[in-house]
């Protein structure tokens, strides 16, 4: 046995040393703090359906490793940073749920929420497919799949994008299924005699014969000029609901170049509503409304909630606009902490007539709001803040970023 001692000793060292490390590693993984949504006023039942998702970083030890977490009314859960979880990745919650429910249909589909449309009967998907040509993208095609939830039948087909040669880039921004017609709303970059244009384009596809039956540019603006810049945005909607209207905000800015800096000043802002069924455009006028770049506004199918932050970020100004009556309802303000160092602003969503607001950043010095209000009247139903459960460690320094908010 004596001649085996070197070998045996090495094996013992390996087992003990690696074993101890594995045990310590497993133990230290559990030391995450608990985040809660602390009630300041109002009814805590209002936040029951609310889930916030984000990333947590402990910066005390200058160790910048993110851990994903979910915060709900009953506390926080951290996603184990295990190898397997990293392989699987972190698709947005809606995609994750769809992957669990429709595993076959979701194969080979992107994780972009905007590429999906879901209602009680169907789940539709559209994405753009192209070939890499020399110096530019070519042969744009729509890759479309529609799953019928009733009989489980999937229809998949591709359609060539009309005038593909003139397009520099196409990006699917929204999908709506209206009366058996699939409407794809895209952001196109078009070239015309060396001039470039950004346009919001709509392609209507008849599902019965799988052909594009109509397509038109809803709005078209020149791409990046010297003294002017244009910005066209779709107002956010819920991907789980059909909307007959698209709400588009077009902002025109003057670029002012000083010796020291380049500033932009809004000179004109237009709000358009486009009816997908009748293909008619209408202008919406809201006096004294200047939407900023935060994209907080939300459209729930019947009412547009125009939202902006006031200059210092202490107030969220909400202006509901009823599309059916073409009428502005009375605007209201929601009071926020308005922290000075906040960079990532607020997140908003509307569901069932309730407006949910949450700050996307929290540190020991920066407080984060969580607010639920009646979307029409502005009455605050719940006001709270994100907080650490228990007494926080003395030197603890952390950063918390919320990047997704959803209401079940």
């Amino acid at each position: 046995m004596k001649k085996y001692w070197k070998f045996a000793a090495t094996i013992v060292v390996i087992v003990l040393s690696i074993g101890t490390y594995q045990v310590n590693s497993a133990k230290s993984a559990k030391q995450y703090p608990e985040f809660v949504i602390k009630t300041l006023s109002g009814d805590a039942n209002e936040i029951k359906p609310l889930v916030l998702e984000g990333a947590y970083t402990d910066t005390t030890a200058m160790n910048y490793v993110n851990t994903n977490l979910k915060i709900a009314s009953d506390g926080s859960t951290f996603t184990n940073r295990s190898f397997l979880n990293q392989v699987i990745g972190q698709p947005p919650t809606m995609i994750k749920e769809l992957q669990e429910e429709y595993r076959t249909f979701m194969r080979g589909k992107t994780s972009q929420v905007s590429s999906f449309f879901e209602d009680n009967q169907i789940l539709a998907y559209a994405d753009i497919d192209f070939n890499m040509g020399s110096l530019r993208l070519r042969d744009f095609k729509f890759d479309i799949s529609v799953l019928s939830k009733v009989d489980g039948h999937t229809e998949s087909f591709t359609v060539e994008v009309p005038d593909s040669g003139e397009l520099e880039d196409v990006y699917v921004e929204d999908i709506q299924m209206i009366e058996g017609e699939l409407n794809l709303i895209t952001q196109n970059i078009r070239e015309n005699n060396d001039d470039f244009f950004d346009e919001k384009h709509i392609y209507t596809i008849d599902m019965a014969n799988q052909k594009i039956i109509n397509h038109e540019a809803i709005i078209k603006v020149p791409h990046g000029q010297d003294d002017k810049s244009f910005d066209v945005q779709l107002i956010r909607t819920s991907p789980k609901k059909a909307n007959e209207h698209l709400i588009i905000v077009k902002t025109e800015r003057k670029v002012i170049k000083d010796a020291e800096s380049i500033r932009e000043e809004v000179i004109n802002q237009e709000i358009l509503s486009y009816n997908l069924a009748t293909k008619k455009k209408e202008r919406i006028t809201v006096p004294d409304l200047r939407l900023d770049e935060n994209q907080l506004s939300f459209f729930d199918g019947s009412t547009i909630y125009f939202m902006t932050l006031d200059g210092v970020g202490q107030k969220l100004v909400v202006t509901p606009y009823s599309l059916a009556d073409n009428q502005i309802e009375s605007a209201f303000n929601l009071q926020l902490f308005g922290e000075k160092d906040i960079v990532y602003g607020q997140m908003t969503t509307v569901k069932d007539g309730k407006l949910y607001v949450a700050s996307s950043q929290m540190t020991p010095k920066i407080k984060a709001d969580v607010i639920v209000a009646d979307a029409r009247s502005g009455e605050t139903l719940f006001k709270g803040q994100l907080a650490l459960e228990g007494s926080p460690k003395e030197k603890a320094n952390f950063e918390l970023y919320i990047n997704e908010m959803y209401v079940n």
Partner: protein, 277 residues
Amino acid sequence: MKKYIKLLNFEFNRIAKLFVVLLGITFVTQIIGVIVVSKNYLNMANEQIYDERINKVQFLETYGQMSFLQVVRSLWFVGPIALCLAGVALYIFLIWYRDWVGKNTFIYRLLMLPTTRLNIFYAKITTIMIMTIGLVSFQLIFLPIEILVMNSMVPNEFRADLSVVEIVTSILELSIIIPGSVVELILFYGAGLLVVSILFTGILMERSFRWKGIFAGLIYSALAVVILISPLLLQEFVLNGYFYPSELLVLEIVMGLIVLGATIWMSGFLLRKKITV
């Protein structure tokens, strides 16, 4: 089995000297590194506090506390690890070729042993794996000792204490060498085992067919790599992301096992039928 253990012990004793030398160099260099890096920090602190008349709090605000990560990021720490890596890489070839060198070629005796010749292959590959994991294990033992040395030099208020686990997980390269979970440990070192076995097969091809064998070995290795990554290639270029990431992982593991099996079979065949002394 007994024959295998005997062969393994024999192979291990042959590398024991190299193993100890590598460990010694690593330990000594890293300890010097700890002392140098700590001294540098302390000298800077002294200079700032006594010569520039900054108080302690201000100093800590501008320069921060010293943590062991500063040592880990220095050449004193990384250098010996790189040396060990190079040592193991070199020994993958040496473990075979040393048997062919000299007058009484040793491989002749090994091949004449009354046991299956694949045992030679198994013993050699296990030796390489034990040497690698052994170096890593000793590094894990050195770390707390080195931390202790730093703690004895740098006063409490000037240092941020980190545990071994925190240090390893903060440095990507270390967390690959020393994975934090058993699954990763098996996957990473399994992949390493596969690479070594492919290299061994290449070496055996060269030993069997000499010059022609080198080309055969290169073609064999390229083929093994292509088969191994074929699920990834299919996923990217043919199937347009058909598989979910977790399924792809399972496929890759299956492919790895297939390639490992084929490699061992090929090595056995070469050892039995084609090897020349």
